[in-house]
Amino acid sequence: MLVEFALHHAWLVPLLPALAFLIIVFLARPWPKLSAFISVGGMATACFFATLAAYGVFTNHQYTEHPLVYAARWLTLGLPGMPELQINVGVQLDPTSAMMLFMVSFIATFIQLYSVGYMKGDPGFSVFFSYLSLFAASMLLLVISSNLLQMFIAWELVGLCSYLLIGFYSHKISAREAAKKAFVTCRVADFGLLLGILGLVITFGTLDLVELSERVANFREYTTFGTMTLLAILVFIGPIAKSGQFPLHVWLPDAMEGPTPVSALIHAATMVVAGVYLVGRMLFLFHEVPVAMDLVAITGAFTALFAATIAITQREIKRILAYSTVSQLGYMMLALGVGSLTAGMFHMWTHAFFKALMFLGAGSVLHALHHKADVWEMGGLVKKMPITSWTFVIGGLAIAGIPPFAGFWSKDEILVVTLNGGHYILYAMAAFTAFLTAFYMWRLIFLAFYGEEKPENHPHESPWTMCVPLIVLAAGAMTVGLLGTPWNNIWAEWIFFGEAHHSGEIAWGAMISSAVIAVAGIYLAYTLYLKDKEKVKVKALAERYKSLYNLSFNKYYIDEMYLWFNHTMVDGSAKLFYLFDIYVVDGIVNGLGGFGKLSGEGLRVLQTGRLQNYALVFFLGVLAIAVLMVFAGPSTASLVLGGVM
């Protein structure tokens, strides 16, 4: 009963946090505790419904073939018989969206709970929770969207929430700039996505995902292959920024200016995977265009490697995690690009747990150390903060890919599908990234949690509202990967594109090698950062490859390039346009005015003000008329003088 209700009223899931947002904004704002209660309560209820809905989907195999869709008319343009555009809003439930629905609402609930402790005493406490609720509503709306435009709307709304939350500490200039950067970067990419959507609606006449997928499958009735390629690439531009892919990843590390729960929720577990989700949702489009698929895969693999090489030299704890997120998102894109929705979504699922866990752990550390962020200044935290440290270590094992933790299974899945697809170079890149991932993540762990304690730090364990989410997510990071083990791949039975693939045989080679790679990475980090107490080797290495080190530490100077472009090219042309406007366009206008003024100046000389001059002119005029009449004859005169005579 209840499951049926949840299935057919899935719109309640985004609606509840939206209501929480409204209540907090208009009523509960003056009372922080009440606001937090409403927000967490709304989110928990939404999570409850989402779980029921997901349960409903995952107990009925018919939804894998035929998604449950219900929609209402939102807007119609034109009348029947003419080119008409109808836009619906609705719910589309299939295993992919049900999984996302559960994941987002589950993680959001625990992160909101965590925020109660983390944000305690902040003057913007209520506002923060209202933003979190709004974000949850938008994100859940995005997940259940049955229409591409609806998805785009939610897509922009999560962008707005991200903007508001990154800039939450708006008195800091860095936060303000980071928020703006995030929004504008995503805007640039959304321009591409918008063009793609426009192209799709013009070509296919619908934006409903199910209908669109049917029409795209027979796209030759509507359009050419070239147009399809263009459309797929345009659509992919949106996810490039949203999911932090090269070259529009620059906003994501800066987004860490926001409060840490925000980084965990939005910039690790949910919003940034929206791009991956969109590509997954639109895989029917990309699938038709091999070029676009390759583009997705290459972008993903390159981003994964690229971000990992940056992460190994960063010093701030959240920045390391941010680049790690970029890198993992690249993994997901790679999986989708080689055609495996299963692997991509699986990594997204496991990543959400362990990355949220690690961000919350980092938040706990920052909370304890009063926002001292440099990992080199931490050390030995494990003694004072056992829960935080151990859960973080679990996250580290998961992301490094140590079996049987969650990350191992999903990463292994990606490596296997890449290898099976025959993409050997991409496989090599992904495998090397895995090595780097294990290395930099354990570098962080060894530096921050092990080694010697720093006497100037006085860490303490965080309150229960913060620890409970850590423990829950750690449990998740340990276990959620078991859904997709090669022996019993429940995951692949439900979430797939095209045909469910049961490879049957287990790719032992890939599995063992990825485990070995992970262990090697951790071991290298161990020798460099824990065993070697004085860190002489590290310093020597950094000294020896100084240029490489600088390149990595400065993020390949990409930010500087954008900054230069923005300040010189964009602002420069703005200045030029403005000068053109006030001097040329306005110059012409003022010139016309000036012409009128000058002619007036000239003509007023004739106006002497002396009566006798006027009388003279008057007389001459009469004389002229008389002469005309006498010498030219009356007919000509009347012609010249017109109706006067």
Partner: protein, 504 residues
């Protein structure tokens, strides 16, 4: 139909203005209350008309028609259809908010509010008149109060307020001069076609569409220049930023919010319908000018440091979208054009009212002199950011769907060319966010610590316009269904003519 609701809507502000003449000039509270009541009556009634209008029936409703000057075929013809109704509603929403946005006016409030009410009446008149003569009459009524209001209550920044007022007035009068020539030529030609003089839109539409292609082309060019300079079509836009910057808040609100839209409204309801062949001929040029306007003004806005100039250029940029949409000459495009005028009106009015409050409190509009205001005046910041987000076309606010429909139509009709226009959204995001960030966020400045947030009646513009902004964004069908009911028959007429004379 016994109750003459349109004349009442039209005359309520005028009646309030008449009452104000007899109110002692020191009774500031009373003056403002009378003005507020007058505009409130209009607003409430126009809501009543909006929701009472029968969309399935369509066409002109709430018709009032009396003979006036029979020799010229002028009739006092008031009516509304799906295109003029949103504009009427918009005028009243903004008019009502404008009264509250100028609540703190200290010098000569009585004269100010009388002029403001006359201005509102004039603008409303243009939108509900369906006789070209009456339309022009109301239009000319509008220009004069604006001049006086800018000169007396305006502010001098980059340019003096006298210059701004002069530029605004003369520019618009020159535009309307060309317009008048076109209208008179159209009228004289129509007499021989119709057999009797008739100035009503519908009669002129019948006559105009029978004109030769050549006549249609040059007449349309005249009308395009007239209406185009009013809607600040590039390159006839330069009155707009200066004018808005010089004008007092209420005038900026009404001017950017609705008065400018008379240009787009006239273009659709008069020029395009009457001269479809001419419109078809000039459409590519309109599209090019529109696209140029979008990109050009967006860059112009990026270079500004005065808040009002930012919004001034931004409104030029947004009106470029309307030009593109009109140039598409299809149902979706025209829908988008009207809807975008409505959306931009609400958004620009909210923007200007918030900037007005900021200026009133900080005595500056210079962006580098501000920062961190969100901490001292949070509600003001909310209003500002809502307007800013609407300006950059955030989905969920009113301006997204209009822009989207325009993009659909423009992309369909003009393809690659439209992409340049659509790219304007990036620059828009950049300048809007930059202005917002540098004004509202960052470290709070101590000199603004004493500022009071907007409160009481000052919240009215935020509440009224903000509600419309959000509701229109979440339920765009409220707006679009109405517009669609007006656009579809109009487009049917145009395409009819174009197909009959397809080879012209």
């Amino acid at each position: 139909m016994s109750f003459p609701v349109l004349p009442v809507i039209l005359l309520a502000p005028l009646a309030a203005a008449l009452v104000l003449v007899f109110v002692p000039k020191d009774e500031h509270k009373l003056i403002k209350s009378v003005a507020a009541i007058g505009t409130f009556v209009s607003m409430a009634l126009s809501f009543y008309v909006y929701f009472g209008y029968d969309q399935t029936l369509g066409g002109l409703q709430y018709v009032i028609r009396h003979d006036w000057i029979q020799d010229l075929g002028v009739t006092f013809f008031l009516a509304v259809d799906g295109i003029s109704l949103p504009m009427l509603l918009l005028t009243n929403l903004i008019g009502f908010s404008a009264i509250f946005a100028s609540w703190n006016i200290g010098t000569r409030p009585r004269e100010f509010f009388i002029l403001l009410l006359v201005l509102i009446t004039g603008v409303m008149g243009t939108f509900i008149a369906h006789d070209l003569f009456i339309f022009l009459l109301f239009y000319e009524v509008v220009v004069i109060p604006i001049y006086i209001m800018v000169v007396i209550w305006g502010s001098s920044k980059r340019v003096t307020k006298e210059y701004a007022a002069m530029k605004l007035t003369i520019y618009l009068l020159i535009g309307s001069g060309f317009l008048l020539v076109g209208v008179i030529a159209l009228f004289t030609k129509s007499i021989s076609i119709l057999g009797a003089p008739d100035m009503s839109f519908s009669a002129l539409a019948i006559a105009g569409s029978q004109l030769s292609a050549f006549d249609q082309k040059w007449l349309f060019a005249l009308l395009l220049f007239g209406f185009g300079s009013l809607i600040s079509m590039w390159p006839f836009h330069s009155w707009s930023p200066d004018g808005y910057a010089g004008a007092p808040t209420a005038v900026s609100m009404i001017h950017a919010g609705v008065l400018k839209k008379i240009g787009g409204y006239g273009l659709i309801k008069v020029a395009v319908v009457t001269l479809p062949v001419g419109a078809h001929f000039w459409a590519p040029w309109m599209a090019v000018l529109g696209i140029a306007g979008v990109a050009y003004a967006a860059f112009g806005a990026l270079a500004q440091k005065d808040l009002k100039y930012v919004v001034g250029y931004s409104s030029v940029s947004h009106m470029g979208y309307v030009m593109i949409a009109v140039a598409c000459l299809d149902v979706i495009g025209l829908n988008g054009a009207v809807a975008n005028m409505f959306a931009h009106g609400v958004m620009a009015a909210l923007f200007f009212s918030m900037i007005g409050f900021i200026y009133e409190k900080t005595h500056t509009r210079w962006i580098p002199d501000m920062g961190g205001l969100a901490h001292q005046t949070p509600k003001l910041a909310v209003g500002f950011m809502m307007a800013a987000m609407a300006s950059l076309g955030l989905p969920g606010l009113i301006s997204f769907m209009p822009e989207f429909t325009i993009f659909v139509s423009a992309f369909d009709n003009y393809g690659g060319l439209a992409v340049i226009g659509i790219a304007g959204i990036i620059i828009t995001a950049l300048y809007v966010l930059r202005a917002g960030a540098n004004t509202l966020f960052g470290p709070p400045r101590t000199e603004y610590d004493h500022l009071e947030d907007i409160k009481g009646v000052e919240l009215v513009p935020l509440v009224v316009l903000g509600t419309v902004l959000v509701v229109g964004g979440l339920l765009p069908s409220l707006l679009f269904d109405m517009i669609n009911s007006g656009v579809v028959p109009l487009h049917a007429e145009i395409s009819n003519v174009l197909q009959l004379g397809g080879n012209l």
